[in-house]
Symmetry: C2
Subunit: 352 residues, 2 copies
Amino acid sequence: MKIGHKKKNGDVMTAKILINGYGSIGKRVADAVACQKDMEVIGVTKTKPDFEAKMALEKGYKLYAAVPERAHLFEEAGLEISGTIDDVIQDADLVVDGAPKKIGKQNLENLYKKNNVKAIIQGGEKANDAEDSFNSLWSYDRCYGKDAIRLVSCNTTGLCRSLYAIDSITDVLKARVVLIRRAVDPNDSKKGPVNAIIPSTDVPSHHGPDVESVIKKFKGKIISSAVIVPTTLMHMHSLMVETTGATKDDIVDAIAKTPRIFTVKASEGLDSTAALIEMSRDMGRLRYDLNEIPVWEESINVIDNEIFMMQAVHQESDVIPENVDCIRAMLQMEEDNIKSIEMTNKAMGLLK
Amino acid sequence: MKIGHKKKNGDVMTAKILINGYGSIGKRVADAVACQKDMEVIGVTKTKPDFEAKMALEKGYKLYAAVPERAHLFEEAGLEISGTIDDVIQDADLVVDGAPKKIGKQNLENLYKKNNVKAIIQGGEKANDAEDSFNSLWSYDRCYGKDAIRLVSCNTTGLCRSLYAIDSITDVLKARVVLIRRAVDPNDSKKGPVNAIIPSTDVPSHHGPDVESVIKKFKGKIISSAVIVPTTLMHMHSLMVETTGATKDDIVDAIAKTPRIFTVKASEGLDSTAALIEMSRDMGRLRYDLNEIPVWEESINVIDNEIFMMQAVHQESDVIPENVDCIRAMLQMEEDNIKSIEMTNKAMGLLK
């Protein structure tokens, strides 16, 4: 019986997903998977019995120790685990890795491949650590049926969406992007900067090539630089895209037609990343996640066929629906990327 | 007797400078003027008897009420004023205006022109409010002998210096600049953002045209966008300059030869705006002012004849030596801009 297809009794054969690392990305992917009709969370893992582990149990997820040797810590903390990752990994159709940077690659080599289970690793890993790099709009087909895929970072995902909108109406000759990156996620009280701007002095930054790992035809065309600034809410991108021609109206229309990216107006009070997050809080979004990419409509301008625009990226959440689509592609549950996007969006309650 | 020339007794005939508005810019210009051999501060004005007014008196500056009707406030606060601006303006060879945005233009029309005194207004005013826009490297000759000149903003001054270095070795075809602006000056505890990135949704921003008001030959070639971020120390610029060709070594050499701009190495620990300011504090600079523009050497890169580089701008102080040079130009005290720059730098103790 094929995953995602209906059984004789009308039930859908669901994909069994294990979340290895129930942290910033992992907990969000778990919730996004749990609300899909064609997949289920068979368990989540944690390395330690912290508040997130406790809340995973309260939500009804089966909890497993990510590191078998540390299983006793959970018992000592009074948290009921269903075993260690070794007890559950064979039951999974696919593992979504939510481990910190570099650990994902280790997990892929030492755990997922050895257990012959498909896996998604996150954007902190390198492009050549996996078979391919995933974005729902650009590389769904390429990742179809694959065993080990890297889901690109929040910034790369955001750029892939806006470049998809632009590419739908004109040809991209060269794109320059300056990324103004948030310092840390909101829950991180250890690191800074508190009052400084930190340049990424490797210019161009790695973000351009990372976009190119998804969009092969843009090879050598995306040049990026980045700075880190003292804010926690969102990243921001200033895009300058040389094209063969487009109008502002074309771009606004193209964004309207592209999934998971939308225009906002500073004139309506959405004049900063803080205002965007306030909107998301008012929308009642879980954890105030803004999975879609907002583009400031006033910032869109075309001069000499070069498109200028500014967008924001909610670093914690824009990749979450992409993880769900990636599962469908890798498990061959849906051939059409747009159909998968629509299923994911509907289940998650996304704008578009 | 001509200002700046030696009298028979060997003394230099000094230019009499009035500082109207002893605030962020005014107090720094006062100190920079006071240490030059060929000019003197005949007085400074304040609108209210605050700590800066008190410290002006302690430094030995003659204090005048900027608004005659408020003179009594100074007496009531126990601060000895030498009169109001009306009592001193006729004695000045030139007034340096340090008033807030838009007030400078009003002062020029209602005060300086009526009293037939030369005046410098600051970069918050618009280009067409004055006869021309000043930068020591680019428009000294144009402003020579003029009566009303605008000294461009800190960001524009910073860009004029780096573009001068680049222009000295290659031809600029198009420059794109993204400005990451500090939120407020360090003494401002009223405004934010505290945790947000604010886009300037007018893209391109006004900074490009402002550079072009100084460098006429770059008309239409400088495109800028800007965001405001939660930091107080310095602005930062990410430059992307299309040229007819240059190497990294060319650029480093050109920066070394250009006054008031220098390269720093992140690898030496100067890896953020905070580290740059720490360096300036360690240098013993008054108010930790870093009047020179630091460019991160690691960030300098050339791809397809396009120069990439990142620089920081100490918003409170980079324009200060330019004000001194502007005085010399407007009062025809020195014909050679490089000689004026050298005099100013030496007196202020600048690096170069």
